[in-house]
């Protein structure tokens, strides 16, 4: 099998450029936010101890939290070099726990939710779109269209609350939150895995429902031109069976949808961050909100960076997959 080397190099280059841009953005954005976390904490301490605290403590706090009054470019260089050494700093809220530790706890859960829900909604959405497209302009198509349009237009977090209310609060079929049952200890055991799947069910269901519409409509609109394409006409003219024709159209329509896949990683990430707070899922979403509330720059930046890297890597994998799936790109290795 040929490997599209140039394509991959190209993608890696793009990956690096975007990553660097995102890293810079990541440096700039939190610094835009006004306020000084050390001051806030210092104030609480002063109040709690009836003013019996030396002002030097503030400086000390600032030093501990890595807040710097150095010129911006110096801070930027320090930031880059720390990043290069894998040092994401220490969280202010959870002082003195390193940001990397927190991320190692939280990010896998978020990724788990994102990957699971994107995969499922990609699969179901494409199937639904295929169904609608193949039966286009019939009541079947209309049902699929209206369902997916409605799902796409309903505010995601409201959907989450409604689902939570129906299935967990009133139905009592699913747990209210968390990633696994508190009576089970984490480990690679069957009860644990079942518990994880079970707890992920509602959040995944919500994200799948709300992101399904995009896939369905995209697939439907992709497959319709494909069904009218020359190669489909020719296949029909050669007397191919309908399942053969459907699969040819589907294969060709799914490729452009795959580029949408990479974009949807970012979108789903957004959705997941919100859903996490609703389903009490221990991912990065809640940490992000806490970090912003407490002006926890290191944590904020760490989450931001990790999420971006996750999205970029996701994009990259999808791009590579695309390179392998679409022979027109694969060919460029020649």
């Amino acid at each position: 099998m040929k490997i599209p080397v140039r394509y991959i190099i190209n993608k890696i280059f793009l990956f690096i450029v975007v990553l660097f841009g995102a890293i810079t953005l990541n440096f700039v954005l939190p610094r835009l936010i006004p306020g000084n976390p050390a001051e806030t904490i210092y104030q609480d301490v002063v109040k709690a101890s009836g003013g019996a605290v030396n002002p030097v403590y503030l400086k000390q706090l600032e030093a501990e939290y890595g807040l710097s009054h150095a010129p911006l470019y110096v801070q930027y260089l320090t930031y880059l070099s720390d990043l290069f050494h894998g040092n994401l700093g220490v969280s202010i809220t959870y002082y003195p726990v390193p940001v990397s530790t927190i991320l190692a706890q939280a990010l896998p859960w978020t990724l788990f939710l994102v990957i699971t829900s994107i995969s499922i909604s990609f699969f179901i959405g494409n199937r639904m779109g295929r169904y609608g497209g193949i039966n286009r302009n019939t009541w079947k198509d209309l049902t699929v269209d209206i369902f997916s349009m409605f799902m796409a237009s309903f505010p995601a977090f409201v959907m989450a609350f409604i689902i939570l209310d129906i299935f967990a609060v009133n139905g009592k079929l699913f747990p209210l939150g968390g990633a696994y049952s508190s009576s089970i200890n984490a480990g690679f055991t069957i009860p644990f895995i079942i518990s994880v799947i079970y707890h992920a069910f509602l959040p995944v269901l919500t994200i799948v429902l709300t992101s399904l519409g995009g896939w369905t409509l995209g697939m439907r609109n992709n497959i319709i031109p494909n069904l009218n394409s020359d190669f489909i006409n020719y296949s029909e003219n050669l007397g191919m069976k309908s399942y053969q024709i459907k699969s040819i159209a589907y294969r060709n329509a799914i490729l452009p949808n795959l580029t949408g896949f990479s974009m949807s990683i970012g979108l789903s990430m957004s959705g997941v961050i919100i859903e996490e707070s609703i389903f009490s899922y221990p991912g990065v979403g809640m940490y992000m909100i806490t970090a912003i509330d407490n002006l926890d720059y290191p944590l904020m930046q760490g989450i931001f960076l990790m999420v971006i890297i996750a999205v970029l890597v996701g994009n990259f994998i999808v791009d590579l997959l695309y390179g392998f799936l679409d022979p027109r790109i694969r060919q460029e290795s020649g």
Binding site: D230, G239, K241, I248
Partner: protein, 328 residues
């Protein structure tokens, strides 16, 4: 000279739905396709030649629709057939070489598997029929290695040859070629046409060859049907068309073809533009462009008239009068 017709088309009416209602493209068309010959169907834009090709093959899609008529192929009316029955006939009895061959192959599948698909569709085992695939590829003078390529790795000519090989894979009795060489380079086009002619001679397949390029049509066809505005205006053999055209359009069109060695002054200029079928025109459809028209031409619609020549039909009320005005 006339053979027995392998296909008979009777009173065919085809059109398209549009914002303005149903537009008739082909009007009351009757045509016999003689066995073992190449029937060339010629026409400029608007004549309905491609629509005809699709209608014959029943591959016309919405918004196109066949309104009425019969297409009798081996005693059966294709228009009355169930889709499954029709599907089973395709590629085995009747086959089709499409117009835009550049995009006729599935871009994400290797050629070999596209051949496989055809075999699977007709209940044949691909592995057992490998030799058949190889043979058909060789027939169109392609190297067997192309079987392991993706369509985009082939040049336009190779793709077109592949499509022809695929259409001929199951040795059909009748092949419809709809502008099979449009968009190809002149030299490639020439080669492919020669090869098609060669294959036809060898296998004696009946072909319907459709093109807008009159010179090529004349080069290729045994019989010719000239379409104008959705109607056959003349049908006859190659030599009848060149030597004894009975419809002014045929005559003028042939004369308007620039050829090496012909001076510009001697090339006929046909006034006006090709038109679609106009149902409001109760007279001859060609009347707007005909330099020889008489007042009666606009009064009634001319029928297809059989001439005294063998199998030579024409649709002109002014024949042979107009021929006197024209200098041949």
């Amino acid at each position: 000279m006339s053979g027995n017709p392998v296909m008979k088309i009777r009173n065919l009416e085809v059109g398209y739905y549009s914002e303005n209602g149903f537009n008739i493209i082909i009007h009351d068309l009757n045509l016999d396709v003689n066995e073992g010959r190449i029937l060339g169907v010629a026409g400029e834009s608007g004549s309905g030649k491609s629509t005809l090709a699709q209608a014959i093959y029943r591959s016309l899609k919405y918004p196109g629709e066949i309104r009425s008529g019969e297409i009798i192929f081996r005693g059966k009316d294709l228009l009355k057939m169930e889709t499954q029955e029709l599907r089973k006939m395709r590629a085995i009895d009747i086959s089709f070489v499409p117009q835009a061959a550049m995009n006729a192959l599935n871009p994400v599948k290797k050629i070999l598997y596209q051949f496989y698909d055809v075999l699977i569709a007709h209940g044949k085992d691909p592995e057992e029929n490998m030799e058949r695939i190889r043979e058909s590829v060789r027939m169109v003078r392609l190297d067997e290695s192309i079987l392991y390529n993706f369509p985009h790795e082939l040049s336009g000519g190779m793709k077109q040859r592949t499509v022809i090989a695929m259409s001929l894979l199951l040795s059909p009795k009748l092949v419809i070629l709809d502008e099979p060489t449009t968009g190809l380079d002149v030299l490639v086009e020439h080669d492919i046409l020669k090869d098609i002619r060669e294959i036809q001679r060898k296998t004696n397949i009946t072909m319907i060859f459709i093109t807008h390029d009159l010179s090529i049509l004349y080069e290729m066809s045994d019989d010719i049907a000239m379409l104008y505005a959705g109607e056959i205006v003349e049908k006859g053999s190659h030599s009848q068309f060149l030597k004894n055209p009975m419809h002014p359009y045929t005559y003028l069109l042939t004369k308007s073809i620039p050829r090496i060695g012909v001076k510009r002054e001697n090339i006929v200029k046909l006034k006006g533009n090709p038109t679609n079928y106009d149902p409001s025109n109760r007279g001859c459809q060609f009347i707007t462009r005909c330099p020889y028209s008489e007042s009666f031409c606009s009064e009634s619609h001319p029928d297809l008239i059989e001439s005294d020549e063998d199998d030579h039909l024409y649709r002109c009320m002014n024949f042979p009068a107009w021929r006197k005005k024209a200098t041949i």
